[in-house]
Amino acid sequence: MEFFLQLLVNGISLGFLYALSALGFVMIFKSSSVLNFAHGELLAIGAFLFLALSTWAKLPIILAFAVTLIGSFSLGFIIERFFLRPLIGEELIEVIMLTVGLAAMFKGLLLFIFGGDIHSYPNFLPEGLSMQWGAIQIPSVYVATFIIGIIFLIIFGFFFKYSSQGIYMRSVADNQPAALSLGVHVRRVFALSWAIAALVCAMSGIVLGIINGVNVHNLSAIGLKVFPVVILGGLDSIGGAILGGVIIGLLETFTGGYISTSLREVVPYIVLVLILMVKPYGLFGLVEIERV
């Protein structure tokens, strides 16, 4: 029983992490219909930026964290402005190839600068954060992940539900010509979704770095996990991305815990294929509102 609860908590925390990064992916897709294949590299860039700032530049942790988030946000803006924007209106496949190219470029740069080894952050999470209930021990990373995940998901929920900028972003995803007719700055919305995506990726990258160590190959591979998550949740559903993340997180930890650690990485994909066979739009994909 303790083991089960422990796996449950780990799985949910991990799931929030996946959900958070999937949110970035879904946002870009919803606003501009671009599939971002450089998702994992954005995770890696965030994780390494934080590494460089905290261990090389020796900034205080909080400052390093803040600068990483600001830096990633700006990087997202720059990517959209200089790489994606010239391709607005081009064929989907060209845009996808561009993001694949960006992925290769970022990965190459990171390997060049940091090499292929596993780096690690200084241990900065306070020990007091870890929790103990009877025999269940939840390490402080998971508690931190859980808290960060919840906080960010709530902030995003409020941003998209209530803020004007969030509503403009949703309007572009919903009906781009109508948004344009009301003066919504559509290109700015694209840029903002890339910026926010890069920011949440950095966030998840850092936490994954704490859990697994900071390694270019690992992080960019974890980026691929966004596909089972968003396909499970429906490519265009933010709520779905969150649920999808939690489901994949739980599947992984339970497979790892009860069946075998080597199956851990495979099971999400098996589930993915099974689900797609039954529900091609994902579990929570938007059902088109039809008027009769």
Partner: protein, 267 residues
Amino acid sequence: MEDNIRLLINNISVVYADVIQVLKGVSLTIRKGQIVSLLGSNGAGKTTTLKAISGLLKPENGKVTEGSIEYDGEQVQNSSPEEITRKGIIQVLEGRQEFKYLTVEENLRVGTATRWGKPYQKDLELVYRYFPALLARKKSLAGYCSGGELQMLVIGRGLMAHPKLLLLDEPSLGLAPLLVKEIFQIIRKINEEQGTTLMVVEQNANMALQIAHYGYVMENGKIVMESTAQELRENPDVKEFYLGTAASGALKSYRDVKAYKRRKRWL
């Protein structure tokens, strides 16, 4: 130039995709505070004219290749929709075009995009005052609203932008006559109370000419007739082809046949 002119379209030609010419030398004038109606059958070029004004030709690969559009004395042809909306011209698109997955109130709030960060509570109240039906539905998804509610929603959404010139593209399309009447009365009220200058594109000439001050008739990308709304209402051709009320039944048989042919071409 007279300073009571809001919009002056001077002999414009519009071409899509560099080859398809749709407007061929269109000129029209909209005075401040007026409702101007642009009539014409399907495919005449009415929507294209509105898009030339609002800048929405650009995303459709269309272009004003000749002539000029002056708004409050400033040339605006081929500007981007972001610029034009910020100058106060808002086009309410044909066929409603609501944001399906946003609530009614969220739809209205998108109308504040040109003045982000400014207060909008008063404007919401104003829209709800003109369209009480929207107040009752403010929390439901627009995707589940009726056609009439949606037409009110998109007009209200346009009002949220504080337009100086509001362009309405076929607001009566697909709505029951009673509902059309109600909506046109509200449009007139908005014009009278807010002083908003309006251009109303319609195939339904009857309603449009009842509220308009001035009207233009368009055919094949050209203006073929213009006059005060009252004169247009009384014009026999307009009566026959747009109002569907031929003056006297069996009077002019030859013209009838000709009219029938023309009508068929238009429909």
